[in-house]
Symmetry: C2
């Protein structure tokens, strides 16, 4: 309606989309990032997710200490992030888009295209104790 | 010929192919690696090369101190590595294959498929002074 601004998603705490530097020349295209700079933590682990069946939602947990930086290298997917007060959905559809997800953010990855390849940098090695697996526990911890 | 073994490429110093751990379940496939373990150095930078025109050769230099770990996430390419005494070519055609290229190895990336996406982890931030740009200089440095 005239005079009423479109409602945009609430900006949530702890999830930040950024554009990575890139360069193109006759030999192809390059996207790059430095740990501690473009990726705002020390990179101790990476993982690559691919071959995700249509309609699958991944994630649906939070981390107590882990930072993640997500880049969809091929195809597209989206990340629904929730800080316990509001939600925001981020579309990752270009290898120059990186999403930093901080600790204490409930996150789900969904809408994977059939060719999607999601690269994730993580600030810690795998630790099952770092996971918050239920949304109720996440809300209690986020309110604490 | 009978009795004559097929000549296999010389195993060179400073270039090591390894298989990264992976897991598959109903939600898709995961490939992963830890810095300091599967990737045998601290990861200070990454870059992604894609859109490489057919017939292009990239690299063709050595590094004085930089370690690299190369994974072809999508499509395929090959890496020709040279330690100053012998050459060996490595085919990267699967996201679970990682090639560690140590300092003082002359390396070229070539045979990129049109859909190739090459992910490289690097042990240092970008430093032009770390590059050895000519093969003659590389041979002198490798012999020193």
């Amino acid at each position: 309606m005239h005079g009423v601004p479109e409602i945009s998603p609430a900006a949530i705490r702890g999830a930040t989309l950024s554009r990575l530097p890139s360069a193109a020349d006759a030999r192809g295209e390059l996207v790059f990032g430095e740990a501690g700079r473009h990726i705002p933590f020390e990179v101790r682990r990476f993982f690559l997710v691919h071959g995700v069946p249509e309609g699958t939602t991944r994630g649906e947990h939070a981390h107590r200490r882990l930072h993640q930086f997500l880049i969809c290298i091929e195809g597209s997917c989206s990340v629904l992030a929730d800080d316990g007060r509001a939600q925001q959905e981020f579309l990752l559809d270009d290898p120059t888009l990186g999403l930093h997800v901080e600790p204490m953010v409930w996150a789900a990855q969904r809408n994977f295209s059939s060719d999607a390849k999601l690269l994730v940098f993580a600030s810690e090695i795998y630790d099952p104790a770092d996971y918050i697996e239920t949304y109720a526990e996440f809300l209690r911890a986020a309110a604490a």
